[in-house]
Each structure stands twice: as structure tokens, then as C-alpha cells.
């Protein structure tokens, strides 16, 4: 029952946020100089007033702003994200086509980073003050300080240009294979981008889980657990982990929402056909419906991530929301 309650409490606020964000984005985008018509005119190397008027008319860009906002919200309610001006296709189709690539990349990277980061963080906390702690801490700082795009370029230079082990770009080979071969091919292409993105997230979770584990290790109930004769491992994974994982879960929830941000860079470096790079191009080309569509999808991801985190935290710590 409790989770139904959290969902019901979450729903109205989430809808409000989505609408508010939708409107904010709607007006923000239009602040950028130029509109789709000018971009299309510029690109086709030929234009006259009738050409530009005709485009504006067709996409309703000549309507008063408030009317455009109203239609945008009305469409949003029915999940109709409108047409992409540049690609002449339904935004929903484009996103459903490109989102899997981003999700595949970012979720793998984040999961990898969380698991490895948290375990190493616990190891560092358990061996606090020893060389292991300092080593892990140093590696974490190194990864955190490495700019994502530079790490990507270095990995490509090392593993694909000089060693030729891994493909430098794209999500699949030039000619698409099918079935298992296609899956393997994608995995083969996935390695470098995931490692690049995971390196950055990894650093965050090592420091976070180390700090959190250290804090919990100092609490009285750990001493009581030891007084029961429990071995250090059982104390750590039986009692400490459950308490120290809460900040990690909260940070993970926060970062799920930020996945799109990290993806922009990695997808640009590795030409990964995801919505990160698509969002950047759409913004530059003032493809209003497409960029608003992507923002909308990413806000849904953020709002869902908040719900998920909230539920997971309540599952771990029943006091939340009760006291």
C-alpha cells in the first residue's frame, strides 16, 4: 500500500513540473536568435520572402506566441510531440528510434560505475588510512579530473588508432548485420564510449560511498554488531551497507536525470546515434519540436527517476515519510 501512496503523492507534483518545464523550454528556445525557417533557407542555398513565409505558415510559426504555446501544451497532453522541421518526420518516431542508443550507453555506464564505485568506496573506507585507501582515492580523483571528451579521444587514440582493437566510432559496422552478429557488433562498439562515461561517474560514487561508509562505521550500532561476535565482512554487508547505500541511491536517482547531459559529449566524440547528440544538433538548427520533444522525454526520465529513488529509499529506510 505504501508504494501506491508514494505514487499518488508523487503524481500531481510530477505533472505540474512537466507542464512548467514544458512551458519554460518552449519560451527559452524561442529566445535563441533565428528560427527554423531561416536555417532551412540558409541550408538550401536559395530563398526568397515567399519561401520563408511559406515555411513559417506551414509550421504555424507565424501565429501569436501564446497561441503556439497553447497548441504545444494541448499536443503534449496527448503525447503528440509534433513534426521535426528538418527531418520532416514525427518527433515521437525519431526519439523512439534514437533513445535506445542513449539508454544503452548511459545506463550501462552508470550501472557499471555505481557497482564498481560503491564496492571500491567500501573497500577504501574499510581500509581507511592505509595505502589501499589512498590509492583508491587517488584513482578516483584522477578519473574525476579527466575531462570526458579528452578521455574519449585518448582511449580512441590508444585502443583503436594505434592498437586497432576497438572501433573508434559509430554504433555498428558500415553494413548492418543481423541477429547475434549485430548484437556483438554493437557491443564491440559500446566498449569505448561506456568506459569513457563510466570513468567520470565512477569517481563520484567512490568518494560518495567511501564517505558514507566511513560515517556509518562510526555509528554505535556497528559497535553493537561487533559485540555480537559478527565477522567484519558480515558487519559490513549485513549492517553497514544497508545504511550507507542511501546517499548512493539518492545520487544515482539525481544522475539518472542528468544522463542526457553526459551523453551529449560522449555521443559527439564517438558519433553514437543517441538523443544526446541529436538534442545538440536540434538546438543548433532551431528544430523547435524536436528539441522540445527531447527535453520533454528527459524531464519524464528525471521525474520517474525521482519516483524510483523515493521508492527505493523508502524500501531501504522505513522511517522516511513516516516520522
Amino acid at each position: 500500500m505504501r508504494f501506491a501512496y508514494t505514487f499518488l503523492a508523487w503524481l500531481p507534483r510530477a505533472l505540474l513540473v512537466l507542464v512548467a518545464i514544458g512551458l519554460l523550454n518552449f519560451f527559452l528556445i524561442r529566445l535563441a536568435p533565428g528560427d527554423p525557417a531561416t536555417v532551412l533557407a540558409g541550408e538550401s542555398g536559395a530563398s526568397d520572402t515567399r519561401f520563408v513565409e511559406e515555411i513559417r505558415g506551414r509550421y504555424g510559426l507565424d501565429q501569436p506566441l501564446w497561441w503556439q504555446a497553447a497548441t504545444y501544451l494541448r499536443n503534449l497532453a496527448t503525447f503528440d510531440l509534433g513534426m521535426s522541421y528538418r527531418m520532416q518526420r514525427d518527433v515521437a518516431d525519431i526519439i523512439t528510434e534514437r533513445v535506445p542508443a542513449t539508454l544503452l550507453l548511459t545506463s550501462t555506464a552508470l550501472t557499471l560505475a555505481i557497482i564498481v564505485g560503491t564496492l571500491l568506496g567500501i573497500r577504501a573506507a574499510r581500509r581507511a588510512g592505509t595505502w589501499q585507501d589512498t590509492l583508491i582515492g587517488a584513482v578516483a580523483v584522477l578519473c574525476y579530473a579527466t575531462p570526458v571528451f579528452w578521455a574519449g579521444l585518448l582511449l580512441v587514440l590508444l585502443f583503436s588508432v594505434s592498437l586497432g582493437l576497438l572501433p573508434p566510432f559509430g554504433m555498428s559496422g558500415f553494413i548492418r548485420k543481423s541477429g547475434i552478429a549485430a548484437a556483438l557488433d554493437v557491443l564491440h562498439h559500446l566498449v569505448l564510449p561506456v568506459v569513457t562515461l563510466a570513468l567520470f561517474y565512477f569517481a563520484v560514487y567512490v568518494r560518495l560511498s567511501r564517505a558514507s561508509t566511513l560515517e556509518v562505521l562510526g555509528r554505535d550500532f556497528v559497535r553493537s554488531a561487533r559485540a555480537k561476535g559478527l565477522s567484519e565482512t558480515r558487519v559490513l554487508y549485513g549492517h553497514v551497507l544497508r545504511n550507507s547505500i542511501v546517499p548512493v541511491v539518492t545520487m544515482a536517482g539525481l544522475q539518472i536525470g542528468q544522463l542526457l547531459g553526459g551523453a551529449v559529449i560522449v555521443e559527439s566524440v564517438f558519433a553514437w546515434p543517441g538523443i544526446g547528440r541529436l538534442a545538440f544538433d536540434a538546438l543548433i538548427q532551431r528544430d523547435y519540436n524536436l528539441i522540445l520533444g527531447i527535453f520533454f522525454v528527459s524531464s519524464i526520465m528525471v521525474v520517474l527517476a525521482n519516483l524510483l529513488t523515493d521508492m527505493v529509499v523508502r524500501a531501504i529506510d522505513p522511517r522516511v515519510g513516516r516520522s
Partner: protein
């Protein structure tokens, strides 16, 4: 490892081509690339460069043009122009069928030029609004003009391919369902478009030139980044790449590989020129000496060799060197900083205490690293003669917005000057073409009655010799006046596998119909 593969292939290919004589082979699949993925491939409606490649394989134009832009027969067998240059009559081929089996007749031609192109294509509108198109009989069409318009004969090219009247007449052209699976008369039929992956064209078996085309099918694949495209060419997975598909560095590198070849021909119909436009409404740009000083300050060889990596020629004036109306002997403006400084002093723009004469702003073209470097070099060169340049950043939309609204001091960009000065050159300099808010018009605000007169006279004259004399005079005036800072003529290289023959056969180059193109084993 990679280097190894390419050597092996090169050796193998070398042997194969020696063995078979120049006998064209029937069959095979051409793998080529397309980026960015075009919104659509319906001629007239989708005019982006990436849309032209597949469109020109499906649809055909009345005429073709050789490398010197001389018209050659295509869907039109023959044509006559009346002595007073007011009537153009075309005799059409008889045995041509649309992909859906319907016969190709004069109705299609009349519909294309009188109705369809005028509605959808801005450039076609400028030309064919002057003509009255009428059907003499099923296979004869006549274009009537109120006053002679010499460039008309060079306008029956890529801009207006013939569309099937029976499928489009009376419909909403932009939302016509056939746009998604276009029906043309060309050597290849539309098979499939897998969004995000490729466009697949297959041979049109009952094409009107029997025995053609040689190729079974063509794949245009969407590969998002230049480096992958270069890799695909290198490894032989792909046989053709053109225009902006490759980074300039890769073009030079690939061209030297054994199994690949490179040509710069095939873009004559476009003839793109790069220049810096100045807002003549503002000081000090309205002073000819300042503009000349800028020309003397810039080293155009550096633009050609370093910035465009040799994929360019020096531009001397408004008309492309490949055009029949080109006038070579105009003021040469070879880099001469001393002369530039002299001109600036003469103007009274002395060097201040900090060595600066004045500060001006340059709006760079936001289309990638090459253009950023071009802007950075310009600033560097002008700084040597005491002119401080502030680079104004923008993105594609921002640039278009500011340029069309005359909101700039200097802006750099390139523009296709097309087959005929009346089509692609005069629009930039005619004083009555100052349309604020419209891109690629006379943004600079150049106004010279003499130039206006010359351009208008040349446009309606019927004799090529007279037009040549008039355009030579115009070029001399414009260059001396330094109306714009001409830099280089862009070259769009086409890199192709040696196994691929007859890919670039006329002025349309890779945008040709590929009817005679064939692929060795």
C-alpha cells in the same frame, strides 16, 4: 593492422583492373554515403545537397550540360531558339515511360515548368516566372518570353527535374503521398528508405536508353561522422564519397592510396565562391580605399593552401573561373601589406599609440572547424596592418538571422554562382535586390547604377559575345571597387574507387543520372 589491409586490397585491385579491358560490366551494387539524412527525396521540394544525390537518379531533366556547361540532349531530343530569343521549342523523346508504366508526354513538361516548380522551388520561380509554357503536341513544348533572357538555356538542369503530371496535377505538392516513394523516368527506381540507415535504389529495367543502367542497385548509407566515412572508403566497403562527406585532410590522404581516385570535376553547375561581404552602409566600409586595403592585406594563397588544404582555387572576381563569361584580367590584389598600409594612411586611419588604426567586427560562418580557422586567419592578417578584428560567434540560425537582417559589419560565407551570371552573380550586386530579411540577396547594400545597367542589359541580350563583353566590364568595375573581398573558389572533390567507372561524366558530376556508371569486379 589497418594499414596492412589497405595494402593488400590495393595490390589485388591493381591486378584485376589490368586484366579486364575497358569493357563495362553489367550488375553490381554501388555503396555510397549521404549525410545529413535528407528530410525527403522529392525533386523541387527537397533541395538540400544531400537530397540531390538520390533525386537525380530517379528523375531526369530536359537537358544535360557538359563540363563547359554546353547544353546536351536528355529527355529533350532537340531544341531551337527563335532568332529574337523569345521562343524556345523542345522536341521530346518518344519511347520514355514513368516507373509506374505511364508514358512521358509534353503534359508532364508543361506541368513541371508552369505549375510545379514555380510553386515549390524559389530558384526555378525566379527564372520560369518570365516564361509562358505551352504544349504544341504530345511531344513538342514551347517556352515563350516577353523579353529575351539568355541564361534560360542553362536553366533546364538540376533545379527542375520533370515530375509526373498524372500523379501531382491538382494535388497539395508538399503532402503528396508519392513524395515518400518518388516515381520518375530516371535509370533507377526508388526501392526502400530505412530511416537512419540507408536509401536503396534499384535498376529501372525499361529505362528509355536500352541496355542501361549497368548497376543493379545503389545504396546511399547515412554515416554520421567524417572519420567513419573515410575508413569505409579506405577499406573498400564504400566506393564513392563527394562534397562535404570527407574532411579535407582525409581527401588528400585517400587520394594517394592505390585503390582510390579523386576528381574535382562535376560541380560546374554550382561554381561556389567564398567571399567576405562588408556592410557598405557603415563607415569605414563605404570608402573604396579601405576595402582595397583589406584585399591587399589578405593572403589568398594561404586560404587556398592551408585553410582549404588545396581544395580551392584563387578567386579573382564575382564570376567563377570555370564560367564562359569569366574575365581574368582584373585588379589582381596580390598580397601587399605596404600598399594596404599606404591606402589606410591615405584615408587618415593612422596607427594609434597602441598601433591600432581601427576595430571592426567579423561574423564568421558557423559551419565547422574550417570556417573558424578562416575567420581566425582573417583577424590575424588584418591585425598585421593595424586593423583589430573582433570575431562575432554565432550558430547556423544566428548567422542566417543576422546576415539577412544586415546586422553585421563583415560576414564571411560561400555561395553558388550557378551556370550563368544572370542567375547566380547579379543577385548579390543589383541595387534593387536589397531585400532586408531575405538571405542571399544584396545584403551589403552595394549600389552602382553603371553595374545595374550592365547586368540588366546582359541578362536580356541574345548574343553570347555581347553578354561576354558586358560581363567583362562589370567584373572590372566590381573588382576595382572591391565590392566584396573575394577569396577562393571552392572545390568539392569526389573520391571514388578505381573499380567505379563513369561516375562523373558531366557538369552535374555525382548528381548525374549514373546511367552509364559501372562497377568492375
Amino acid at each position: 593492422m589497418e594499414k596492412l589491409i589497405t595494402l593488400v586490397i590495393a595490390a589485388f585491385v591493381g591486378m584485376a583492373s589490368l586484366a579486364s579491358a575497358e569493357e563495362p560490366r553489367r550488375g553490381g551494387a554501388l555503396q555510397s554515403v549521404l549525410w545529413p539524412e535528407p528530410p525527403g527525396i522529392m525533386t523541387g521540394i527537397n533541395t538540400q545537397s544531400s537530397a540531390l544525390l538520390p533525386t537525380t537518379k530517379i528523375f531526369e531533366s530536359l537537358l544535360k550540360y557538359d563540363f563547359n556547361l554546353n547544353p546536351k540532349p536528355n529527355l529533350a531530343e532537340s531544341w531551337e531558339i527563335s532568332p529574337d530569343g523569345l521562343k524556345y521549342t523542345f522536341k521530346l523523346r518518344r519511347n520514355v515511360r514513368w516507373h509506374d508504366g505511364k508514358p512521358f508526354t509534353a503534359d508532364d513538361v508543361v506541368f513541371t515548368y508552369a505549375d510545379y516548380s514555380i510553386e515549390v522551388h524559389p530558384r526555378a520561380r525566379q527564372v520560369f516566372e518570365r516564361t509562358r509554357v505551352s504544349k504544341i503536341d504530345d511531344y513538342t513544348v514551347e517556352f515563350a518570353l516577353k523579353e529575351p533572357f539568355a541564361p534560360l538555356i542553362r536553366s533546364f538542369d538540376l533545379c527542375c527535374l520533370i515530375v509526373p503530371a498524372h500523379l501531382y496535377k491538382g494535388t497539395d505538392f508538399r503532402n503528396n503521398p508519392n513524395n515518400l516513394k518518388p516515381v520518375g523516368t530516371g535509370p533507377f527506381k526508388f526501392k526502400e528508405w530505412k530511416r537512419g540507415e540507408y536509401i536503396h535504389l534499384v535498376r529501372n529495367d525499361n529505362y528509355w536508353r536500352d541496355g542501361l543502367p549497368y548497376l543493379d542497385e545503389i545504396y546511399y548509407r547515412f554515416v554520421p561522422d567524417a572519420a567513419s566515412r573515410a575508413l569505409a572508403l579506405e577499406t573498400g566497403q564504400m566506393q564513392l564519397a563527394t562534397q562535404n562527406d570527407l574532411e579535407l585532410f582525409d581527401v588528400n590522404r585517400l587520394a594517394k592510396l592505390g585503390h582510390l581516385d579523386m576528381t574535382t570535376k562535376g560541380w560546374e553547375w554550382g561554381s561556389p565562391i567564398v567571399w567576405i561581404e562588408m556592410n557598405l552602409r557603415k563607415k569605414p566600409f563605404n570608402d573604396k580605399r579601405f576595402r582595397q586595403a583589406l584585399m591587399y592585406a589578405l593572403d589568398r594563397k594561404y586560404f587556398r593552401d592551408v585553410i582549404f588544404q588545396g581544395s580551392a582555387n584563387l578567386a579573382t572576381g564575382p564570376v567563377h573561373s570555370g564560367s564562359p563569361f569569366y574575365e581574368p584580367n582584373v585588379t589582381p590584389y596580390v598580397q601587399d601589406t605596404a600598399k594596404a598600409e599606404a591606402l589606410l594612411d591615405e584615408m587618415g586611419l593612422k596607427r594609434g599609440a597602441d598601433g591600432k588604426r581601427t576595430t571592426i567586427k567579423l561574423l564568421g560562418l558557423p559551419y565547422g572547424e574550417v570556417w573558424n580557422r578562416a575567420a581566425e586567419y582573417t583577424r590575424q592578417a588584418l591585425r598585421k596592418v593595424g586593423i583589430e578584428v573582433i570575431l562575432e560567434p554565432s550558430d547556423a540560425a544566428g548567422w542566417a538571422e543576422r546576415t539577412r537582417n544586415w546586422d553585421f559589419e563583415m560576414t564571411m560565407y560561400f555561395l553558388t554562382t550557378l551556370g550563368d551570371p544572370a542567375l547566380g552573380v547579379s543577385r548579390t550586386f543589383l541595387s534593387d535586390n536589397q531585400k532586408q530579411g531575405v538571405l542571399f540577396t544584396n545584403h551589403a547594400g552595394y549600389a552602382n547604377p553603371e553595374v545595374d545597367a550592365l547586368f540588366n542589359k546582359a541578362a536580356i541580350s541574345t548574343s553570347d559575345d555581347e553578354r561576354k563583353k558586358l560581363y567583362s566590364q562589370v567584373q572590372k568595375i566590381l573588382v576595382d571597387d572591391a565590392a566584396v573581398l573575394w577569396l577562393v573558389e571552392l572545390i568539392w572533390p569526389t573520391v571514388y574507387s578505381k573499380k567505379l567507372h563513369n561516375a562523373v561524366t558531366d557538369a552535374s558530376g555525382p548528381n548525374g543520372s549514373f546511367a552509364e556508371t559501372w562497377l568492375a569486379k
